[in-house]
C-alpha cells in the first residue's frame, strides 16, 4: 500500500461559514481525499485542499455514468470525540455497488485511513449538538479518456465532506408511483449507482408540482408494491406493527433501515419484512390502522411522512402520538450516534489516530 500523502491547508475557510444556515450539500470542508486507479491498482492516496478536479471531456463518467457513491455521517459527542456509524457497512456497500458497475473494488485500508485522517483534519467542522453532523460523501468515477462503451481502466476515488443539519426541511408528503419506475429486476436499483438518482429527478419534479416532496417507488411490473423512496427506505406502522419491504436487486440495503429493524427487535416492536401492497396501505388508511409512514436514510436519519397520494386517493396521516415510532427510532439512533446511549451492537466507530 502506497503511503497516504497529506497536504493540509494553511488557512481554513471555516470562519466564513455560517453554521446556523447550512443548505444541504453546498458547503464543503477544507480538504478532500483522492486516490487514482491506474495500471490495475489504486495509487496516490492523497489528502489535499478541496478544489476542482480536471478531467478530459471524454472521461467515461460523463458519457456512461460509471460512478457509485456512499453517504455517511460523522458525529461529535460532548467530549469532542468523533464517531462514525457502522462505517464498515458503507465500505462493504460501495464495493458491492462498484462490483455491479464493473468498477474495481477499493482497498479497505485506503478507505479507512483516508477517511479517518480526513476527519481528524476537519474536526472543527463537526459541531457538537444533536442534528449537527458532517456529511461524508465517498465516490468513485470513471476517468479514462475514451468513449468506447466498456468499463474504464482508470478511476478516481474521492471523499468530500459537507457540514450538515438534518437533510429534510419542512413537511414531506409522497406520491405512490403509478407510471414511472426507479429500477428493474436484474438492474442496478440495489446499488448506489449515480444513474439511479438522476433518473428520479424528472418524476420527482412532477410530484413537486402537485405539492408532494418525494415519490415512493413501486415495482415496475405492476406498480402494486411499495419499495423505497430513492433516498430513503420506507416503513409503515399499521396498528403497532412496523412493516417494510424486503431488500432485493431493486431496493437499496439501507444501513439506517437495518438499524431500525434491529432496534425494533431490541425493543419488542413487532416487525414484518415482506412485500407491502399499495392496496393494504390504502385499506389501513381507510380503516384507521395506518398510524405512521416514515423514511430512513443516512442523510435524513428518520423522516416522518405526513401524507400520501395514489391516483385520486389522498390521505393525511394522523397526528403523531407520544409513543410514535418515528421519534422513538430517531432518538434511539441519534443517542447511539452521538455517544449518548449504550452501543449494544458495536455500531459506533470512534475516530482515533
Amino acid at each position: 500500500m502506497t503511503k497516504l500523502t497529506i497536504n493540509s491547508v494553511k488557512n481554513s475557510k471555516i470562519d466564513h461559514v455560517n453554521f446556523n444556515e447550512l443548505p444541504f450539500g453546498k458547503v464543503f470542508t477544507d480538504h478532500m481525499f483522492s486516490c487514482d486507479y491506474v495500471n490495475g491498482e489504486w495509487v496516490n492516496p492523497t489528502i489535499s485542499e478541496y478544489g476542482p478536479i480536471s478531467l478530459d471531456p471524454s472521461a467515461r463518467v460523463f458519457h456512461y455514468g460509471q460512478a457509485v457513491f456512499e453517504g455517511m455521517k460523522a458525529y461529535k459527542d460532548e467530549n469532542d470525540d468523533i464517531f462514525l456509524f457502522r462505517p464498515e457497512d458503507n465500505f462493504d456497500r460501495i464495493n458491492k455497488s462498484a462490483h455491479r458497475l464493473a468498477i474495481p473494488e477499493f482497498p479497505k485500508e485506503f478507505f479507512f485511513e483516508g477517511l479517518e485522517q480526513l476527519l481528524l483534519l476537519e474536526k472543527e467542522w463537526i459541531k457538537t449538538g444533536k442534528g449537527n453532523s458532517l456529511y461524508i460523501r465517498p465516490f468513485v468515477i470513471a476517468t479514462q479518456p475514451a468513449i468506447s462503451a466498456s468499463p474504464a481502466e482508470e478511476y478516481k476515488f474521492m471523499i468530500i465532506c459537507s457540514p450538515a443539519k438534518s437533510y429534510y426541511a419542512g413537511e414531506v408528503r409522497v406520491i405512490f408511483a403509478e407510471e414511472y419506475s426507479r429500477s428493474a429486476n436484474g438492474g442496478v436499483g440495489y446499488a448506489k449507482a449515480a444513474g439511479n438518482y438522476g433518473a428520479q429527478f424528472y418524476p420527482t419534479s412532477l410530484a413537486h408540482k402537485e405539492g408532494y416532496q418525494q415519490i415512493i417507488w413501486t415495482d415496475a411490473n405492476t406498480h402494486e408494491y411499495l419499495e423505497e423512496a430513492g433516498t430513503m427506505n420506507i416503513f409503515f406502522r399499521v396498528n403497532d406493527t412496523l412493516i417494510t419491504a424486503p431488500t432485493s436487486d431493486r431496493i437499496l440495503d439501507g444501513i439506517t433501515r437495518k438499524s431500525v429493524l434491529q432496534l425494533a427487535k431490541d425493543n419488542n416492536i413487532a416487525t414484518e419484512v415482506r412485500p407491502v401492497s399499495v392496496a393494504e396501505i390504502k385499506e389501513a388508511a381507510n380503516n384507521g390502522s395506518l398510524k405512521e409512514i416514515f423514511g430512513s436514510g443516512t442523510a435524513a436519519v428518520i423522516n416522518p411522512i405526513l401524507g400520501f397520494k395514489h391516483g385520486d386517493f389522498k390521505f393525511e396521516l394522523p397526528a403523531l402520538t407520544d409513543n410514535n415510532y418515528s421519534s422513538f427510532f430517531k432518538k434511539a439512533l441519534n443517542d447511539i450516534q452521538y455517544n449518548l446511549a449504550e452501543d449494544k451492537h458495536q455500531w459506533r466507530h470512534k475516530v482515533t489516530k
Copy 2:
C-alpha cells in the same frame, strides 16, 4: 442568442495521428464546442482547443448521473463535401433525453451552429472513403457544485469529435439476457442517459468471459421478449421478413433503426414491428427459417450477429448469402451517407457555412 466564440488552434495535432489504426473513441480532434447553462439560460457558446475541463468534485454529474448524450457521424464524399445523417433527429433526441433527466433543453440554433462550425474547422479529420467518418459526441452534464439529490441549476453542453473506422472489430455473438436487465417500464431506457450504459458493463463483462461480445436485453418482467442490445437496436430476418421490437419507454428510438425500416419499405422487404419472443427466434433457428440477426446503430451502422446463446441453447447463424439483408442495408445506408446514392427522404445534411 449569444454569439459563438471561436478560438482555433495554431498547430493541429492531426499529423501525429495514424488514421490506419484508430481505436474507437480514443483519439479526439483539435477543437471542442462547449456552452454553459447558468441563471436559466445557455450562454458562452465557444469553440476552443480540445482539452481537460475543470469541475468541482461535488458537480452533480459525478454523484447523480444527470447526463445525456448523442452519437452522430460526419461523412465526406469524393468532392470533400461534408455530410451529416439525419442530424435533426439527433437534436430532437438529445432534448427528449434531457427532458427525462430534468436537464434544460438545448436551443437548436446553438446546436447546429456549434456543430457545423466545429466540423468545418475539423474538415481535415474527416477522411474520404467508405468506413471513414468522424464520430461526433454531443453531451450534457450537470456541473452545479452541490450534492443535494435534485436537478442541477448549472450544466455544460459539449461536442467532441473522434475520427472513426467502423465501430465493431471482429465477430459479434450475443447472449439473450435471462437474469440481468437494462431498463424498467416507466424508466429511462428510451433516453440516451449516461447511467443506462454503465449499468450494462458488468453483465456484458460476464458475457465476454463466455466468449460473447454483446447482450440482447429482454423485458425485465419475463425475459421472454427481445428488446435491444444497449448500443444497437436488433433486427431478425425470418425467411424473408425483417422483424424488430417496437420502441417503448424501455427501448431507444434508434435513427439507424428507423432508417432501416424505411429502406425496407422502399425496397419491398416485408417488415414486422412487434414484440419478438425468445421462443419464436429459437424455433426459427431450429427449423431453419432464421436467416440473419443484425444490430443497427450510429457507431456500428449495421452489424451482423454470427451466433447467439440462451441458457444451454447455442446457435450459429447460417453463412450470409449473396442477397443478405445486413450487407444490403449497410450499403444502402452508406451510399446515402457518403453521397453516392439518391437521397429520397432528405436524410443527408450538407455542412456549408
